[in-house]
């Protein structure tokens, strides 16, 4: 059991990395990864939301949609749950911790449109995870996202001062480096498959 969970988390972090192998969560990845501090705050907030979204969507699907026979509305319901959840988190943050609100709160509205969040909710259903597996899958995906985001932010701070050919400056070189990193991450797919 514990081994299965460890494998699930490791798989989500390295083998099927959301950003580099499954392309989920790319929009914030490209726009946020230019500065190290923002990358760290974003990845913390996103990991938290991903884990919580896994739990909420699991509960909604199994205790609301299945009994009512409304499984075909799952994407619609999940996005509603995610929107409400993110706004709930924002309100709690504002009331309890102004410091956290100031550092993480600004990224909250954008997390709703991060496809990784809806993606993790849908994949949990597709892969028939139970509640514990869903929690750890969400956590693993979040850790994988954070790992790549932080690695990349460090790299792009270097790239900003590097001598890049003119047409490739900015987003283009970011894409190329992501491609090289993705090539490296493909190396992890050997041992488990």
């Amino acid at each position: 059991m514990l081994g299965d969970i460890a494998l699930l988390v490791l798989g989500a972090v390295l083998v099927n990395n959301f950003v580099l192998v499954q392309f989920l969560g790319l929009d914030p990845f490209m726009s946020v990864s230019t500065k190290f501090e923002t990358a760290i705050s974003t990845s913390m907030a996103t990991t938290f939301v991903l884990t919580l979204a896994s739990v909420c969507s699991y509960l909604t699907y199994n205790y609301l949609l299945i009994p009512l026979d409304l499984a075909y509305l799952r994407a619609f319901t999940f996005i509603l749950v995610i929107v409400l959840m993110v706004q709930g988190i924002e309100i709690v943050l504002r009331k309890t911790s102004p410091l956290l609100q100031r550092t993480l709160g600004v990224f909250m509205p954008w997390i709703t449109t991060n496809c990784a969040v809806l993606g993790v909710a849908l994949l949990n259903i597709d892969q028939a995870h139970n509640l514990v597996e869903s929690v750890f899958y969400g956590l693993g995906v979040g850790m994988g996202f954070s790992l790549v985001l932080v690695l990349f932010a460090a790299m792009r701070e270097r790239l900003a001062v590097a001598d890049v050919p003119e047409p490739f400056q900015g987003a283009a070189i970011g894409m190329i480096t992501a491609g090289v990193a993705s090539l490296a991450f493909m190396g992890f797919s050997g041992p488990t498959s």
């Binding site: 392309f23 929009d27 509305l73 929107v83 449109t113 993606g119």
Partner: protein, 231 residues
Amino acid sequence: MNNASLYQLTLDGLWKNNPALVQLLGLCPLLAVTDSTVKALGLSGATLFVLVVSNTSVSLIRTVVADNIRLTVFIMIIAAAVTVTDLLMQAYSYELYQILGIFLPLITTNGIIVGRADSFACKNSISAALSDGFFMGLGFSAVMVLMGTIRELLGTGALFADMQLLFGEGAESWRWELLHIDYPLLAAVSPPGAFLVAGCLIALKNQIDTCVERRAQGSAEAAGAVRSEHR
């Protein structure tokens, strides 16, 4: 709406403010489903439809929605449009629906659609919002299909395989063996290839923009030189 602004919208959507190459939004489907032309066509068609529907509806209700709940309302509208598209595809092209998998429901979180709703549709008339949605969707689709064809060609040496998934039985013969390669470039259809091709496309667009700008500058300088000679 006059012709000048329609021209502006077309130029913005297709080139100057292209959602995929300049705004870098909707990257998730752009990279994930472009390993073949048919997948790119299917998903970009669905995105175009959702974008037009959401832009039009957002523009319709723009005066009655309170400002602080507007994003939630927009996302609900988009999710409804996506669910309709999802069920339509399930009914009419089930195999393609299965291949596209979670990327069809994920159109809801495509940054372009929320972005256009929030920055354009909720401030403009219905006809303007509709054309903006159409041209932005067209610009996105163009880049997606272009990437799909490049990656399919490099990765398999052929073009337009499996078109029957989208266009029915008659399209089976559309497959066009363009290059006869014994060892196709597998990297092109795998994830790293997606990033590399996208990076090169963005760079190509930048290069074309710089060339056009230089030429415009050059001709302006030449005109200036001619004028000073005349004096």
